[in-house]
């Protein structure tokens, strides 16, 4: 027996264990490094006036005034618009795939959603800015005219000269979030016990009553998680939004007014930025990173908890 080979093999085994453990740890290392290096770089711009940086509403790099609140506002407005459209549509698609469609047509619908996910975001931005914007601007103007006599709504849907605005960005975000929300909603619906559905049908429920009574209550937690994941994706989307949002640095209650989001402003101003301006843009990135990581983390917890609850009910 070759004992030398045995010892070497054992050493290889130890080495391999170390190697794969390190590979696993790279995720944590990279995430940690992202947080640390970008925060350090952004520090000078943040300590300049930390309160101004977080809640200031004036962004003027030439005067070294960096109030990022308008961008946070833009990120929230656009992603909320996106979610209001994407969540119901995605749930509808997932229901169509799991409950309505025949086995054969199911494949085609899944393909449509998958294809939507493969389109690069810059292409959505291109189509959005060169095709959708000129086409949709008269529609906005018509709608704003319709809303004019209604107090409250007339401020939200006010008159506009441009189709590059919060609402167009929200539309594009909705399209981009539909695939991710749909795929998780499908997973969630798949965990609804078959016996619950058959039970509802046996009691004489129509398909809609079965969906309302058996599927939706069961899936509520999972759907909340799916929507949060979509929200995280929407808030971080950069390129498509920066092409259609108009790039104004103020805040506006009018969703048909141009604005900016946290991610988009980085992409737009990166080329001309230098010194403290660059640091401030990186600071916006750090804020965005913190927000999206938090949302993603919560979403995963919600989805996992919902899964455990459902499996528990089943067994």
């Amino acid at each position: 027996m070759d004992l030398g080979g045995e010892a070497r093999s054992r050493r290889t085994d130890k080495g391999f264990t170390g190697l794969v453990t390190f590979a696993g740890l790279t995720v944590l290392i990279v995430l940690g490094l992202i947080l640390v290096t970008t925060s350090v770089q952004a520090w000078p711009a943040i300590v300049l006036d930390p309160v101004e940086f977080l809640i200031g509403t004036r962004w003027s790099p030439s005067d070294e005034v960096f109030g990022t609140f308008p961008f946070l506002y833009g990120t929230l407005v656009t992603s909320v618009i996106g979610m209001i459209i994407a969540v119901p549509v995605s749930i509808g698609i997932a229901l169509f795939i799991t409950e309505v469609a025949h086995r054969r047509s199911r494949k085609y619908i899944v393909t449509i959603v998958d294809l939507l996910a493969t389109v690069p975001s810059v292409v959505f931005g291109l189509v959005g800015s060169l095709v959708l914007v000129p086409w949709i601007t008269p529609l906005y103007q018509w709608w704003a005219g319709l809303m004019e006599p209604i107090p409250g709504l007339s401020a939200v849907f006010a008159h506009t000269q441009t189709g590059r605005n919060y609402f167009t960005a929200g539309l594009i975000l909705a399209v981009m979030c539909i695939p991710i929300i749909t795929s998780i909603a499908r997973e969630v619906f798949a965990t609804v016990p078959e016996i619950d559905k058959q039970g509802a049908y046996a009691l004489g429920a129509t398909r809609w009553e079965m969906i309302k009574g058996a599927i939706l209550p069961h899936s509520f937690g999972g759907l909340v998680g799916a929507s949060m994941l979509g929200l995280g994706r929407a808030m971080g989307e950069t390129i498509a939004v920066s092409l259609v949002i108009g790039g104004a640095v103020g805040m506006n209650a009018n969703v048909f007014a141009p604005g900016n989001t946290m991610a988009a402003v980085i992409a737009q101003q990166w080329g001309e930025a230098s010194g403290l301006h660059t640091d401030a843009l990186i600071g916006i990135g750090v804020l965005l990173f913190a927000i999206t990581v938090l949302i993603n983390f919560l979403a995963r917890v919600v989805v996992r908890r919902a899964e455990i609850k459902m499996k528990g009910a089943h067994s």
Binding site: S9, D13, F16, T17, V20, T21, A23, G24, T26, V27, L28, V30, L31, L33, I34, T37, T38, V40, V89, G92, I93, L95, F96, V100, I112, L115, L116, T118, V119, P120, S121, V122, V123, F124, G125, L126, V127, S129, L130, T206, R207, W208, E209, I211, L229, G232, R233, G236, T238, I239, L243, A267, W270, I282, G285, F289, T292, V293, N296, R300
Partner: protein, 298 residues
């Protein structure tokens, strides 16, 4: 004994639903079907616009010539961006796929349900949700400012960070499908764990790993934000990723789309069609490999 004789059996066909219930059911079904239409509409719009406007830009010169320096200059040339896209994405794959696969081996074969493995699993899920521009900013701070030059390699590093969690999670899914009998048979023959992993588990899952990695490649190839932050801009061929600024198709689309000139917009459409074609090839390849060599079909 009760009997149904002389009585008509109850009608269970649903034809005698109350009007309200039938209406609600019908409306809901129509609305659900409408959702699919709403998703198909933008896909059709994108496909139609990109193909009809992009195809006219395509020619032999389009794939070979250098990029015109002036936005107003009409005519073809996207060669350097095509080479740049392939080179940067390829380098990103070389960096991220081995690490990702080994990381997945740790999660599924070594860590399993240990607290550390569970934490890594959660964090890689979280990392897939990190905005791609953040990866660009990270590499800018950690690499570009250090070597003081924007290079193609910096872009590859940023894309590798983006791909890493996707590769880890998809590979782990595939490793989970490998039957435990294979591992037991291998260690029963006296193989050490690393030989079992390298000689039995990974080969058994290789098609699934390839297909998942190709999807990650497809996603990385279309990324723009990390590229414009780290890679800079060039008009000429730069096959050497360590030699100064580079460019990719996605970055060219972004640059040209934001210009008001017809010539540059036409190049943006052409580049979009080229990029979608590349992404599509990777996606289809991934599908074919996944369908051909799926573990459960053997």
């Amino acid at each position: 004994m009760t009997t149904l004789e002389g009585r008509t059996p109850p009608d269970l066909s649903g034809r005698n639903l109350s009007l309200r219930r039938a209406f609600a059911n019908r409306t809901a079904t129509i609305l659900i079907a409408l959702c699919v239409l709403i998703a198909a509409l933008p896909l059709a719009l994108v496909a139609y616009q990109v193909i009809s406007k992009g195809a006219s830009a395509w020619s032999l010169a389009w794939f070979i010539d250098e990029i015109p320096r002036n936005y107003r200059t009409e005519g073809p040339g996207m060669g350097p961006a095509i080479v740049g896209t392939l080179a940067i994405t390829g380098m990103a794959s070389l960096l991220s796929i081995p690490v990702g696969v080994l990381g997945a081996v740790y999660l599924n074969e070594y860590g399993k349900n240990k607290p550390l493995a569970r934490f890594i699993r959660t964090m890689s899920d979280v990392m897939t949700g990190v905005p791609s521009i953040m990866m660009g900013l990270f590499i800018y701070v950690g690499y570009v400012t250090v070597i003081d030059d924007r290079t193609g390699f910096a872009g590859a590093l940023a894309l590798a960070c983006l791909m890493l969690p996707i590769v880890i999670r998809s590979t782990e899914e595939m490793l989970r499908l490998v039957p435990d009998e294979l591992r037991q048979a291998s260690s029963g023959l006296g193989a050490r764990k690393w030989r079992t992993v390298m000689g039995v588990v990974l080969p058994a899952a290789s098609s699934g790993i390839t297909s998942g990695s190709l999807l990650a490649v497809a996603r990385a190839a279309g990324e723009t934000a990390p590229i414009i932050v780290t890679v800079g801009l060039t008009y000429v061929y730069k096959p050497d990723l360590f030699d100064g600024a580079n460019t990719t198709l996605a970055a060219q689309i972004f640059r040209n789309a934001s210009q008001p000139f017809a010539a540059s917009q036409e190049r943006a459409w052409g580049a979009a069609l080229t990029l979608i074609a590349i992404v599509f090839v990777f996606t289809i390849l991934s599908r074919i490999i996944a369908a051909r060599f799926a573990i459960d079909k053997r």
